[in-house]
């Protein structure tokens, strides 16, 4: 299973939540599968997906899901310490771990070798961390959302991207339609 197939299984589970999606091909693939107002597509600032989701979750009672990647998580590991100490129970994260930098040519990331993001998250203080194969991620996410307990899921998939176009929406349009979802 690759990221695109995993995202297809996640979309039905995420429809009632606020979704912050990682920069690059992850956002493009999610947009191609199903564009929704509750999706906030990151168009820049690699590494900040989970931090944006954290700031949002601290300011809403709605459930917030970060769709993170292994390369971008590695870029901002210390936010896991903030989540481990301050993360509220309405914050959920799926780290799509394909062991590579998909948007830049599939260069190998360190999670393809010695590094465990689940281990780092646990050591950072995140209470509930699940590592699973990609095909089990949607079930784990659905259970976590139903239980209302903050959960970080490291979903292992194969490297590879779907040929999809860039997200054609203006950032202020994305901001406004997403804000409307947060406030309704």
């Amino acid at each position: 299973m690759k990221r695109y197939a995993l995202l297809k299984t996640l979309v039905p589970v995420m429809r009632d939540s606020l979704v912050v999606c990682n920069i690059g091909i992850p956002s493009q693939e999610l947009f191609a599968i199903e564009d929704r107002d509750n999706h906030f597509y990151m168009l820049g600032s690699m590494g900040l997906c989970t931090s944006i989701a954290l700031g949002l979750s601290l300011n809403t009672t709605k459930k917030v899901i970060a769709l993170e990647g292994d390369g971008s998580m590695l870029m901002n590991l210390s936010t896991l310490a903030t989540i481990g100490n301050r993360g509220p129970n309405n914050l959920f994260a799926v780290i799509i771990d394909n062991g590579s930098y998909g948007s830049t040519g599939d260069q190998a990331s360190y999670t393809s070798a010695a590094t465990s993001l689940a281990g780092i998250a646990r050591a950072a203080g995140c209470e509930r961390v699940i590592e699973c194969n990609g095909d089990a991620a949607a079930k784990h996410l659905e259970e976590a959302l139903n239980e209302g307990q903050s959960t970080l899921i490291v979903a292992k998939v194969e490297s590879g991207n779907e040929p999809v176009p860039v997200v054609p929406l203006h950032p202020v349009v994305l901001r406004e339609r997403f804000r409307a979802c947060v406030s309704h």
Binding site: L43, S45, C49, S51, L58, T79
Partner: protein
């Protein structure tokens, strides 16, 4: 702790409905951080890096909040991309309260290089800056918070070393 300037700054931000705060620490901001830690009327969550803090502020902004990050000006070097490609790109109002390390009074040589660059970097990025040299300058903070909302982007309140070092 009397710290009248620190109290005035935080009170002004609260009066202007800034309700979400984060910080990366600085000795010159320590009194403000203590005030925020003790304040139950606002949300305050420390960040580990300035770019993480901006990400948290962006998320809070998507929930309609006006936010503030407290940081040293040296941290500006860490967040150029987050400012340009997130905060400015999505047009999010964020108040950046910066201690101006590397300004006269600074005892640490390594603070000087970024201190020399800070005003020029902010100008280059077209980020409005209120440079506070003395107490009366703090009275303009409220209008800069308003301007962040009007302009829908970041504004910087730059606090001189001497001004805040004397605020005990």
């Amino acid at each position: 702790m009397n710290a009248p300037f620190s109290r005035q700054i935080i009170d002004t931000l609260k009066e202007k409905q800034v309700t979400f705060f984060t910080s990366v620490p600085c000795k010159l901001l320590a009194n403000m951080i203590t005030l925020l830690e003790q304040d139950t009327a606002v949300a305050y969550h420390p960040a580990t890096r300035e770019d993480e803090g901006l990400g948290m502020c962006a998320g809070a902004s998507l929930a309609g909040k006006t936010t503030c990050i407290l940081m040293q000006d040296s941290g500006l070097g860490t967040i150029i991309n987050a400012l340009a490609a997130l905060v400015q790109f999505y047009q999010l109002p964020i108040v950046m309260l910066m201690s101006y390390r590397g300004s006269p009074g600074e005892p640490v040589p390594a603070q000087a290089p970024m201190g020399m660059l800070t005003p020029e970097l902010l100008k280059l990025m077209q980020i409005p800056m209120l440079h506070c040299h003395e107490a009366k300058d703090l009275n303009e903070i409220a209008s800069y918070v308003d301007f962040a909302r009007v302009k829908q982007g970041p504004v910087v309140i730059l606090l001189d070393f001497h001004l805040m070092a004397g605020d005990q």
